[in-house]
């Protein structure tokens, strides 16, 4: 219609153009992070934990950093953690990294179908676990294995889940690494991304309805912030002033899509909290002390009924999305090594050394100890079998837990499946 509209002259108008975001670098390019703005450690202000949300909003474009280039803790966010806790965090990070390596290899050896590492992101889950109460509840994504390890969940049980063997508490029903454990405050991981984010809010609403003291933390990746569930979580958290921490782990890659595809060219993820009136912190995710300090701040706020906090953990996914992914197909190789915020494990280690609380020799002993522990756990787990051997015994269990009681139609199908198994 408008084509024929004599009032419309297009002579001076540009042709409309669709912008499809594109990362600056692709395979073949040399890694270059010079465009990333990194404020000095200690420079970000620390508002009171009961401050109005608006007082935190300048932090949504800042970056809370505690560890300086000299590996010393500096500034108002320094959580002044007991060295014993720092050593526990280091130990957990070493364990997670070795665990990831062993399980990645196990997948390559055909012992399981799938694995996901959290390389370069270890500090986020582990410092969070250290900063929160053991009874607080997590609704994690698949890259927070550190929460389980920090809370002392048995490594063997994690591996049994990965192998779907007889020791798997989830009875072989879930994809490897989709752990679930109530006793460790670790909610069942979903492969449908983002669903857990508003669920965390619901759990914390229940805690508030019941006058509990426990709080909840929801986790999501940068990519899944594009889901409607992200918006639901933020809305409910804001409306009911829910005692919840909402964490966006911005590792900048959603499989092969860089964070620009989730909107990061326009605003930081932390800035999304501004429009909801939720307190907002943007934190160096590779700085274990900054992670600890931010989570401690948000926990205090939540526990005092002062409201929810969104925390963006800014980090970099140092390796592939999963064992099914090869990042050399979409981004420069060795970017992880060039990441300017460094390796979280090495940074915490250097800090402990700078404090005079650690040395190379003790570190080598720790690594050897953790390595032995992981290997021993793996040996134990493999005694109960690896994935290719599974799925043949106890087929009837496949029909349990669909409902509390087995209805007639599922009972009939169970009997048919058992008969079919005998036929082979």
């Amino acid at each position: 219609m408008s084509d024929k509209d004599p009032k419309v002259t297009r002579a001076n108008r540009p042709v409309l153009a669709l912008h499809v975001p594109e990362p600056h670098l692709r395979p073949g390019d040399a890694p270059d992070f010079s465009a990333i703005v990194i404020p000095a450690a200690g420079s970000a202000p620390r508002p009171r934990t009961d401050a109005p949300a608006a007082d935190t909003h300048s932090l949504a474009t800042n970056l809370v950093r505690v560890l300086g280039d000299d590996h010393r803790a500096v500034g108002p966010w320094d959580p002044k953690i007991d060295p014993e806790i720092l050593r526990k965090m280091l130990r957990d990070m070493v364990t997670v990294r070795i665990f990831d390596d062993r399980m990645y290899r196990a997948q390559r050896q055909g012992k399981t179908s799938f694995y996901m590492k959290c390389s370069g992101e270890e500090a986020i889950a582990i410092a969070t676990a250290a900063a929160m109460d053991r009874a607080d509840m997590h609704f994690p994504t698949y890259r927070q294995q550190g929460l389980l390890i920090a809370r002392g969940y048995p490594l063997t049980t994690m591996m049994c889940q990965i192998y779907s063997n007889g020791g798997d508490p989830l009875k072989g029903r879930q994809l490897p690494i989709m752990y679930s454990d109530k006793a460790h405050g670790f909610f069942s991981i979903s492969g449908n991304l983002g669903t857990q984010f508003p669920q965390a809010v619901g759990w914390a609403m229940a805690a508030a309805i019941k006058g509990d003291h426990r709080i909840a933390m929801g986790w999501i990746g940068d990519g899944a912030t594009a889901e409607g569930d992200f918006h639901s979580a933020m809305t409910f958290a804001a409306v009911y002033n829910v005692p919840v921490i909402l964490a966006v782990v911005n590792n900048q890659w959603a499989i092969s899509s860089f964070s620009g595809i989730a909107g990061a060219e326009r605003a930081t993820f932390a800035q999304r909290a501004v429009g909801y009136g939720i307190a907002s912190l943007r934190v160096d995710g590779n700085d274990a002390l900054a992670v600890y300090a931010a989570v401690q701040w948000a926990s205090e706020r939540a526990r005092a009924n002062a409201g929810p906090t969104m925390i963006e953990f800014f980090t970099y996914r140092a390796e592939g999305h999963s064992t099914s992914d090869d990042p050399s197909g979409y981004r420069p190789v060795n970017e992880g090594k060039a990441w300017p915020l460094g390796d979280p494990l090495e940074r915490l280690k250097a800090h402990l050394i700078a404090l005079g609380q650690w040395d190379e020799e003790r570190h080598s002993t720790l690594v050897a100890h953790c390595d032995a522990e992981v290997r021993a756990a793996q040996k134990e787990a493999e005694k109960l079998g690896i994935l290719p051997q599974q799925g043949k015994d106890n087929i009837a269990s496949m029909f349990d837990d669909v409902y509390a009681d087995i209805p007639w139609h599922i009972a009939e199908q169970r009997d048919a499946a058992l008969a079919e198994a005998k036929d082979r």
């Binding site: 989830l170 069942s188 508003p198 809010v201 609403m205 229940a206 639901s232 837990d401 409902y403 209805p407």
Partner: protein
């Protein structure tokens, strides 16, 4: 015993259960202060306080997700989705989370909750206030699906649903909230007060899930139906002088197959009636089951009376709705073969 319409009976079920169990919490769009657009949750906030009966943002995905978190905590959410037509933003949470949680956590995190939602047409609601999406939920393992057709059953089934350890999608046929509907849209509505099923016992009672009700005994034909169509079907068999056995399924999952098979074996003929569109409707499952289990007792092909495979058309409501004419024709066909 009191005489109630379906709304009052459902409201009473809420009150009985909220008094008995402090873990039952109610929320939904307009469900708090105002008591819901159909007034089912009226008075709950007044009696139980704002943290047990409250208004939710217009976010069905958020409502269901919050209920998941609450159920994980140990509460029993009893939530309202204002119209079944609005349930789709919550569908991922229902299908991927609510339905599968007990299974994927090996029983550690069951999801006891009730998702109530008014459904069905006959109210000039157009395509976004008239749908019957029950088959989208009967197809999902882990969910139970319930549809009451009288005030007595509405209260008893809702109480059973709240007490059930599994998640229940509770479809309320909104056309018959205030009175049974015989399908003759041009006749005045009969209020529930004139119907025996409006006698609702006081206090607690449960109508067990998974049990159908034989509404009318008969020898010539079995009619399998639920919701509003129970009343439309009853009127049709009377008007056409067919000695039909009319079965109100009440629960679609798990289905009371025993009652169905016993009846079809007796009558040798079967008609399946629902409001929802035909293709892949729950009727297809019923026809398949009857064919599998009763083939040698059947004297005629099983027929279906359903809505058409179109979106719900506003001004063509009575050309769309499976009313007396469609039923008459189907009855003649099944009885004539």
């Amino acid at each position: 015993m009191a005489t109630m319409n379906m709304i009052q009976a459902l409201n009473d079920a809420h009150k009985v259960m909220m008094r008995a169990d402090g873990d039952v919490v109610v929320f939904g769009e307009d469900a708090g202060y105002f008591g819901g657009v159909f007034r089912v949750t009226e008075g709950l906030q007044r009696e139980f306080g704002k943290t047990r009966a409250f208004d939710a943002p217009i976010s069905e995905g958020g409502i269901v997700a919050a209920a998941v978190g609450m159920a994980a905590y140990g509460l029993k959410p009893l939530i309202e989705i204002q119209f079944a037509d609005y349930i789709y933003p919550g569908y991922d949470q229902i299908v991927s989370e609510v339905a599968k949680m007990r299974y994927r956590t090996a029983g550690e995190w069951p999801m006891p909750m009730v998702i109530r939602t008014p459904y069905g047409g006959g109210i000039f609601g157009g395509q976004t206030h008239s749908q019957s999406p029950e088959s989208l939920f009967t197809h999902i393992a882990g969910l139970k699906v319930v549809v009451p057709s009288t005030p007595h059953d509405a209260k008893g089934l809702l109480i059973a649903a709240i007490e059930d350890p599994d998640p229940v999608i509770f479809f309320e046929p909104k056309r018959i909230y205030n009175g049974p509907f015989d399908g003759h849209h041009d006749r005045p509505v009969t209020p529930w007060a004139k119907h025996s099923a409006s006698e609702v016992p006081d206090g607690h009672y449960a109508v067990p899930l998974g049990k159908a009700r034989v509404v009318r005994e008969g020898e010539a034909l079995t009619v399998l139906t639920y919701g509003t169509m129970v009343h439309v079907s009853l009127a049709a068999v009377e008007e056409n002088g067919v000695d039909a056995e009319v079965i109100d399924l009440r629960t679609l999952v798990p289905l009371d197959l025993e009652t169905i098979v016993a009846s079809v074996e007796k009558t040798g003929r079967c008609l399946v009636v629902h409001e929802a569109p035909r293709t892949s409707g729950f009727g297809a499952e019923l026809v398949a089951l009857v064919q599998e289990r009763c083939f040698y007792h059947l004297e005629a092909p099983v027929e279906r009376v359903t809505g058409w495979d179109t979106p719900y058309p506003h001004s063509y409501e009575w050309a769309y709705f499976p009313g007396p004419k469609r039923l008459k024709k189907a009855l003649e066909k099944v009885m004539g073969d």
